[in-house]
Symmetry: C2
Subunit: 470 residues, 2 copies
Amino acid sequence: MSLTNATPLEVAQAARLGSRKLAVLSTEDRNAALTAIHKALADGKDQVLAANAKDLEAANKAAESGTLSQSLVKRLDLGKKGKYEDMLQGILDVRELEDPTNKTTARTLLDDNLTLSRITCPIGVLLIIFEARPEVIANISALAIKSGNAAILKGGKESSHSFAAIASIISSALSTTAVPSNCLQLVQTHDVIADLLKLDEYIDLCIPRGGNKLVRMVKDTTTIPVLGHADGICCTYLCSDYPADKATKVIVDAKVSYPAGCNALEQLLVDSSALTTVLPSVASVLLAKGVSLRCDAPSLAALKENLDPHSAALLQPATDADFTTEFLDLILAIKTVSSVEEAISHINAHSSHHTDAILTLSPTVAKPFLAAVDSSSVYWNTSTRMADGQRYGFGTEVGISTNKIHSRGPVGLEGLTIYKWVLVGDAQASADYGDSGRKWKHERLDADGEEWVARNEEEREALRTLRAGN
Amino acid sequence: MSLTNATPLEVAQAARLGSRKLAVLSTEDRNAALTAIHKALADGKDQVLAANAKDLEAANKAAESGTLSQSLVKRLDLGKKGKYEDMLQGILDVRELEDPTNKTTARTLLDDNLTLSRITCPIGVLLIIFEARPEVIANISALAIKSGNAAILKGGKESSHSFAAIASIISSALSTTAVPSNCLQLVQTHDVIADLLKLDEYIDLCIPRGGNKLVRMVKDTTTIPVLGHADGICCTYLCSDYPADKATKVIVDAKVSYPAGCNALEQLLVDSSALTTVLPSVASVLLAKGVSLRCDAPSLAALKENLDPHSAALLQPATDADFTTEFLDLILAIKTVSSVEEAISHINAHSSHHTDAILTLSPTVAKPFLAAVDSSSVYWNTSTRMADGQRYGFGTEVGISTNKIHSRGPVGLEGLTIYKWVLVGDAQASADYGDSGRKWKHERLDADGEEWVARNEEEREALRTLRAGN
């Protein structure tokens, strides 16, 4: 891990070289590196917290003078009860996951003694740009090493002391392992992001971890593929046949359980037939929980008539902007629709294609909705807050993607891999086939994710020799 | 299919709208559209060939005046024996492939009555930019419709009459089918590419089909993901243990069978121990086939000593540029390496990461090579010319990708799909889990690619109603 004043180009080239070595390390070698990092960070807790205290001091001053938000100061604090231990446990959790590389995911017999295999492998070099949270450096380092990818990490200036301390500890720890230290590059110099984002020859994937503004800036300025999402504008369509108690439970969870989450509900679409039946029950509980309801004309009228006067007084009329805004707050926009078709059209035009849901008992309404809504996650009768890698059972989460290629929705370790095609033959020539008479067999063979390379000790030894070289 | 003077923005928005309808059409409806296109193009052969003749006339004049290459004129000619019929058959071949969408590729029971499914679906809107070959329009239209994607097609000006004729026929044919005609947008206006490449809000994937210069221009100027490869610099590493007859067969096929192909061999790496044993036999056959050999100093010396004087006189010394050039011609650069490690390093630094091969009988040499070479296809004992979607058994080929995300190597229909996560529950709330006491089950269920939506007639009918609406 480099803390030098290398240029962005030097950083990227070093990461690329490191990635070549890391890509052929065994599962055991990569896991051993995670064990070493975990131990070093556990041993170095005082050192990291001392550095973190410096960042916090500067951040508190900035907050007092009004140039930094209090929520950012909170995110900086590694000393908060359990936070450092969670960071350490996260490294071990990643270590325990299945190795996502070196797996055979498809096999075809093209001809006798000519077998094609699709083998998962690391992507190469990741560029991770993140904002305040200093624990991300440990999390991302663990994910990168586990998946065999080199990573360039660019942190925010508010956490520079914490980053330097964690980086220095990880660097020392790596030097005792088989993982080359140039696989993790920490960049702290100012104003290098623009230069890094140009280096698509050396960097394969960019993952911005931060707010809307950061993600948009990255997406708009680089030809490197970007994994992530800018907005989380999630919608739920409530049908009249859905029981009020269930609707209330799901919608309250989606809006209230963590309003700052990208999977929080921002727009409730209500079928016109549900305005005076299910909606009032749901709305009264939301209002009691302190949620501001911004209602279109029909829903406003229906609620004013069907809620007690005290609650009804809290209702607000919606503006057009409320249907294109990510509130990240206890605010919910409510729109009336007359059919599932209208709900689908509204969602495809106004949601951020993150997570959208329908609440209905009818499969003939739900299934077309699930098929036609063009979002990374589409739900039937549950809360949009379910969109999360841990909840999906991935063990960890790289991020949530609204991309239309590679990985979509919550992304686990698999999203940090790609594949290569390995073809093993016995001197077959392409010109033998087709007009020359030989026919392709194209027989699909089993491929149950078995390990591809290094199946016996001799081959493992050869691979070790290769890893030791340059 | 639009031939109007719509702006690039209008074109992209229309394609996006069309894509929403196309995405929920049944397999049968999309196949029926392919049948209709096939019939219309078969019936309209004379009309297309008359238009094509106009393009050819202009191209021949341009070729005579030296502003157009003869090979481009050849690629324009749809009247060449069998070419039109191949184009027609290609549409039927695509129709017969398995529908790549609406398949369940993973299922997890998150909790009782809470099942997560990963369902394949179309990407959305494709932008295809192609050069001379007018038959590509039929091929791409078929691939787009089969995979449920809308497509914006931008052809080269040399084939404008042919494109207009084919487009008009396809457009009429589509109007009799369930596929909305705005799903295929033909763009012929000049200088719209730059504008289209900015519309990442409406276009999900760009596929440039043409030469190196086109692909580089596209990759360098858009934030839309690009599927393709700029160069095809393929290498083969020849070890001394590999029999001369087999080596000759594989290397001659890789270099000579189609030198203009992106998978043709451009660089032969020879182990120093094979310089005077296997290499001379291979080289003499290559020279006899008219291949210019551009040799580094050790291979030049070895061949001069071991070939007959007449053949040896044809050898040329290699320059550095020969190891970064895609010749697309009967030229082969030869470099001597002292180990598999050196071969791997050279390939990772000099190949275009398309397809690279090793020729050896030793698994302990081959396996580390296959693991460490960072290319989309890596081969052991066969010809780089095998890199092709038809040969891999995909039935068709969208292109060959050297990307590190989404699709790598020859890309079949699957490369035009992504997935969505569908979660079906019964009013579960996220806040019930974790600290609140409920535990995730995360039980993996079978998911054998079964069809997701429209499993019974009632649901099919609901989907049909949806398709008919706006």
